[in-house]
């Protein structure tokens, strides 16, 4: 369950209203790469995670995204505060004002309502974590676009903070992906699924070659190919490493 702290994660005090910026920042509230999408994505994907590190990181980042959702909402509300409707209209906020007034509604910058179609949540943890890393990069880019269009330090500073958080989250998801891949590889390599005793089986040289080729074809990836890719190949399971052999005996 959750508990609310009566503070924003990073201070927000915008003295100069700017409806133009409010409309642009709206996309990080309820847009495709926004904080609401991020939070719901991670908090929904948690259930598919196979080990404690990945369960923890999705829970904790999903929680922090809710704090970012609050920061963005705070910014939007301050940016339109006390601005007369005519001025809102002149500054480009009219199409949003026509629908919601000054209400903070989860939509993108064009007023398109939030949709869960922005996110995915699958039973495959590798798929989920790859989506999460991409999502953090997309959010980082979005914050950079917003910073490019902003001129008030009161607006730029929180945006810079949020951009930094995307970078950190990306890093942590990358580590979680590595941890999950290693855990899955260990499991898949030792045990034949239809062998309840979990006895080690003879390595199949054909499959070994395939995996080595795949890993060689992708040298930038520090993590060898996911065992999921070869999950459905029938017959003996992959050879394991020396270290793993020792552990098994």
């Amino acid at each position: 369950m959750w508990v609310y702290d009566k503070k924003t994660e990073y201070p927000i005090n915008i003295k100069k209203p700017d409806p133009r910026m409010a409309k642009l920042i709206l996309t990080q509230y309820g847009g495709p790469n926004g904080e609401l999408a991020a939070s719901l994505r991670y908090l929904s994907q948690r259930y598919a995670m196979p080990n404690k590190e990945s369960k923890a990181i999705l829970t904790d980042i999903g929680t922090e995204e809710l704090a970012h959702f609050e920061m963005i909402g705070t910014m939007i509300s301050q940016l339109v505060k006390d601005v007369p409707p005519k001025e809102l209209e002149r500054m480009g906020f009219g199409s949003i004002y026509a629908i919601h007034g000054k209400g903070v509604y989860p939509s993108d910058s064009n007023g398109v309502p939030f949709t869960a179609a922005y996110i995915e949540s699958m039973s495959d943890p590798i798929t989920n974590l790859n989506e999460d890393m991409a999502a953090e990069q997309k959010a980082r880019s979005t914050y950079e676009f917003l910073i490019n269009m902003a001129d008030d330090p009161d607006v730029i500073e929180p945006l810079r903070f949020l951009r930094e958080r995307e970078v950190v989250h990306y890093q942590r998801f990358g580590e979680a992906l590595r941890i999950v891949q290693e855990a899955m590889r260990r499991k898949k390599m030792y045990y034949k699924p239809n062998n309840p005793a979990g006895l080690a089986v003879n390595p199949n040289p054909d499959i070994k070659d395939i995996v080595e080729k795949l890993n060689m074809a992708n040298p930038v990836n520090p993590n060898p190919v996911s065992p999921l890719n070869i999950h459905n190949i029938p017959g003996p399971i992959l050879p394991d490493t020396k270290q793993d052999n020792k552990k098994k005996q």
Binding site: V3, A48, P50, N51, K52, K55, A56, S123, A183, M184
Partner: protein
């Protein structure tokens, strides 16, 4: 009586009462009786919470600050179905691993 599950149930029940009073007080901020009950239950909760986290590990990440190792990530998570009996040994078993479970 002081098993992990029993203690957690007590915290859960106390928390729920506190949530109810919280909501009630939000719209009745000057109700003295509700405030008195809230104060009393908050105290009870504080005690139960301290007792639980000292014995069974953190319920919030910050609760783990006094420990030498990072207990926060340890299983079970709330959606895990584990036999609580397995964990009745307290902190000694907090590191219990339930690794390598793969969905599907």
């Amino acid at each position: 009586m002081d098993g992990k599950n029993e203690l957690l149930e007590q915290i859960r029940a106390t928390d729920f009462a506190l949530i109810e009073l919280n909501l009630f007080l939000d719209t009745h901020p000057s109700d003295e009786n509700a405030l008195k009950d809230f104060r009393m239950l908050a105290e009870t909760r504080e005690k139960l919470y301290r007792q639980f986290t000292q014995k069974y590990g953190p319920l919030k990440a910050v609760d783990g600050a006094t420990s030498d190792c990072w207990l926060w990530i340890n299983d079970p998570w709330p959606w895990d179905q584990m036999k609580w009996e397995e964990l009745k040994g307290g902190m000694a078993n907090v590191g219990l691993r339930q690794e390598n479970r793969v969905s599907d």
